[in-house]
Structures are given as structure tokens and as C-alpha cells.
């Protein structure tokens, strides 16, 4: 973990509301595992706290983040010019744990794809991606996947399955039931809930990356907790004990 100065070298609008940010760091980011994230200081004085973003890609001194404009911070970020200075704290958190399995099903909802990008790279052909978005334009977020089987859902039906990604997964799940498989997921809270409902009966192992408001991103403030089934110490820090948890440990 390190806090590294960097400069924006690319900040482009890849789909409505989605931006690809490329940062040139002064030093390479430490080795990151899939599911880890960084805390980014947004250029300017307007945004007080840093913002958490998944590591979309990292090689040498280059860091790639994919983000969706959600509010003040990401709005400001989307206005940032090339060469603007940033600070990057990371890699942070506990990412996905990869055990040897026959099959990996990766479920990504919208910008949640950013949290699975490195994982897909690592899993390679053994992974099947279930990617759900609102409309087909958003699919360009996941353009450069090769050798991975992808199933797509759109809420408006403009491409692939019409509906949400968990229903899409449901359709494919039976075909895989026999296998030794694991589900990895990243997406909004609603998706996580319905995913759990879907997987409940089969006792399928599932790791999910969750989101919570953060102040520090490194376990200092206890601001980002999620409720788990741990009786002694139910509230776990998303930034430290997470962001990836077994879906069965969460108290949703």
C-alpha cells in the first residue's frame, strides 16, 4: 500500500455517464489482487474526502479506473482536465479469493463490472460473465474482453436478455448445477439481495464485492461497515475486511 502522486493522462466518456480514467503514477502501484480498490483524491479543492474506485487495470506506472458519474465527486472528476494532479492510495482491501474450481460465474451489474475486470483477466477462459446494464450503450464499458463467454442483459431489451442480470443468471444456473463452481459478483445492493435469494437453495459458494460510503478507505474510521452474521463483531469494515465477502456471511 502506498499513496502515490499521479497525473490524469486520459479521462474519456466511453458510454453515457461512464468514464475511463487513465492515470500516470510517479511510482508503480503495488501488486493488486482482483477486487482491490484505490482511494482517489479528486483534483481541486471542492471535494473534501477521497473516493473509492476499483482497480480496473494496472500495469507499471499506469492505472486505469472506470467510473460512472453518481454525484459531486464523480461529477467533478468527469470535468478534470488532462495533466490534473491526483493522489492514489492503494491497493486497498481484501479482494476475491480464487480457489480451484471447475467453473466460475462472474456477475456484474452496471459499473459493478469495474470491480470484476481484473478478476476476469485472472480467471480467463474458465470464467463466464453475466453482465447486466440498463441499455446497450453501456456495454462499451466491457469492450475488450476476449476468450471469455459473455451473457448480456439489458433492462430495456436493447441487447441480449431483457431484464436484470440475476434473472439472466437464473436461466443459466441449472445447466451448471452439477459442477464444482463459484459465483463472484459486484453490483448494486439490490442485485446482491436478489442474487442471494437465487443462490439460497443451492448453497452455491459466492463472493460479492460490496459498496459503502467511506472516509478513509484503510480501516481507520470504521465508517464503512457492513452487517455480517458474526455474533461477536457483526459490523465489518468494507475497506479492510472487505470489500469482498462471502455472500453467506452478510446479514442482508
Amino acid at each position: 500500500m502506498d499513496d502515490i502522486p499521479g497525473r490524469i493522462i486520459e479521462n474519456i466518456n466511453v458510454a453515457p455517464g461512464y468514464f475511463r480514467l487513465v492515470i500516470r503514477l510517479e511510482r508503480p502501484l503495488g501488486k493488486a489482487s482482483p477486487g482491490q480498490f484505490v482511494m482517489l483524491k479528486i483534483p481541486g479543492e471542492e471535494v473534501f474526502l477521497r473516493r473509492p474506485f476499483s482497480i480496473f487495470g494496472s500495469r507499471g506506472k499506469t492505472l486505469v479506473v472506470m467510473y460512472r458519474v453518481a454525484g459531486k465527486g464523480t461529477g467533478c472528476l468527469s470535468q478534470a482536465l488532462k495533466k490534473s494532479p491526483v493522489m492514489v492510495l492503494g491497493p486497498l482491501g481484501r479482494g476475491f479469493t480464487i480457489k480451484k474450481r471447475d467453473a466460475y460465474l462472474v456477475v456484474a451489474g452496471g459499473i459493478g463490472f469495474a470491480g470484476t475486470r481484473m478478476l476476469l483477466e485472472k480467471l480467463g477462459e474458465k470464467a463466464t460473465l453475466f453482465f447486466g446494464v440498463g441499455a446497450k450503450e453501456e456495454l462499451s464499458v466491457a469492450e475488450d474482453l476476449s476468450g471469455i463467454c459473455v451473457h448480456v442483459s439489458t433492462l430495456d431489451g436493447s441487447r441480449g436478455f431483457r431484464g436484470d442480470v440475476v434473472s439472466l443468471l437464473g436461466q443459466h444456473l441449472d445447466a451448471c448445477r452439477q459442477k464444482d463452481m463459484e459465483v463472484f459478483a459486484c453490483g448494486p445492493a439490490g442485485m446482491v439481495k436478489s442474487l442471494r435469494a437465487l443462490l439460497e437453495s443451492g448453497h452455491i459458494p459466492c463472493q460479492v464485492s460490496v459498496e459503502e460510503r467511506m472516509a478513509c478507505g484503510m480501516g481507520l474510521c470504521f465508517g464503512c461497515v457492513v452487517a455480517t452474521n458474526d455474533e461477536i463483531n457483526p459490523f465489518k469494515r468494507v475497506c479492510k475486511e472487505g470489500p469482498v465477502f462471502s455472500i453467506w456471511d452478510l446479514s442482508l
Binding site: 499513496d3 474510521c221 470504521f222
Partner: protein, 300 residues
Amino acid sequence: MGPLAVELFGKKFKNPVMNASGTLGYAVEIEPLWGVETMGACVTKGLSALAHHGNPVPRVWEERHGMINSIGLQNVGVERFFSDHFPFFVEKNTPIIVNFFGFSEDEYLSCAEKIRPHELIAALEMNLSCPNIKKGGISFGKEASTVYSMVRSVKGITDIPLIAKLTPEVKNLTEIAIAAYEAGADGLTLINTLPAAAVDVKKRNVPLKGGLSGPILRPVALRAVHECSKAVPIPIIGVGGIMDAQDALAFFMAGASAVQVGTATFVDPFAIPKIIAGMEAWLVSAGLDSIRAITGVTHE
């Protein structure tokens, strides 16, 4: 010992800069970036006799130049702190100040009782902003008489120096500071967060009420330090919105003998080591050989 060395509560500290309670986790979390021994002392997360789970989320909310938190004092309890986390400070040979709280006088006492003297325990820091559940949730720090009796009770059962940490949401903080001093407090920490509320205009709700911290607290904290340091002869630890060395120096000039840095660490995780280095550089450039030279200089 360098120009930042100070003596407080009969102990020597290599510098007068600490983290603010609750803003450095259990301290081990910062290790990948810098060592906790960089600070004169490390202030623990707020501890209680029994473990507390804390509040539901959202627990943090960003404000312009500050934040609101409502962590709810989550902690593992004082006993587990000493079994699981204290050995880390022993290993690092770093003095600690143990911040503690309770929701009743008994809880304060039973927590303080469990803290046995140790050469690395420089002081106890009693968080008096806690709600008193027996008094309908009014915080202990609101009334001079309550502060007096609480400090006196704790002083009666411990030999460790006792610092009272006060809430600014009172009628007259100087009165409260005097009460703590008269009850035997060895020092004061000023100030805790200011009660505030966030409104989410999009969702049309109040996502949380909690304590305001960060730069927006600084002018209020400076006034507290300035006035109370004139009124009581015990050392005052200034806290509230310190972001850089200049901010820290302002607190010493206002009358603080040490400072704590909280929210700044969230914005810049190296804030504390930078503040220490910046203060040292400033003293050199000002031709001063000790931080004590500016402590309270504004008291004309």
C-alpha cells in the same frame, strides 16, 4: 530530544503531535504507510467496559471542508483491546493515551478500573461527550457539576494521569474546563466534534446526525483552546480541523501544549508525519529551539 519534545503529565514525549481518538483505527492499520512511533503518543479508539457494535450505516457524510460521523463508538471492549491490540504498542515502544467512555458513571468507572498502569500508558482520555442514558441521553459533558463529579470519581480509582475531553456544545466551555480542573483532571482535550445534521436533498431525508469534524471545526476549537488555556493551569491538547503544520502552530499559539489530528488523515494519510516535519522546519526557520517558545504567545 529535538525542539518538539515536551513534558506533559510528568512524562516526556518526543513530540506533541498525536492522532485524534477514533481516526486511526487500532493504529496497526497505518503501518503500511508510516510507523505509529512517529508520534509523541498514540490515542486509542474510544474503549468501553464492554464491546460496542456501533451504529448502522450511513456512518459518515461528506460536508464542504469537513465531515459528519456517527460511528457509534464501535470497539472491541477494553479487555480485548489490552489482550489483542496493546502488544502492538509494546512492540513499537510507543506511549498511548487510552480514550474511554461509558453510557453511565458505572461504565466509565468499570472501564477505567480495567486499565492497569503501564509505563507506556501516558494518560487516560475521558470522552465526556457520551450520552448519559440514565439522564435521557444528555451528554455528561454538558454541565459543570456532572463533569466535576465524573472526573472526581474516575480520579478516585486510577493512578494514571487523567485527561478530560470536552464537547463544545455547552453554554460556557470555560466553566466546564474549570470544573474538570478543580475535580483533579491532569489535562484537557479540546474539542470533540460539534453536533450536526446532514440533509440529502435528492432523497429528501436526514441520512444521519452526528459529529462534525475537519477544517470547519478549527475556528471553534481555537477559541476553546484560547479561552480555556487562560482559565486553567493544566496542559491542553488542541484538536479540531488541523490539516497542516500552520494549523497546528495556531493551536500552540492559542495555548495548546499538544495537538491531535483526526480528519486530516482521511484526506491525506501522511498528514501527521507531514505536520511533525513541518512544525520542526518552522521552528528552525523561526530560530526557536523549543515549541514551548510559542505555546500561549497570543495571551498577550
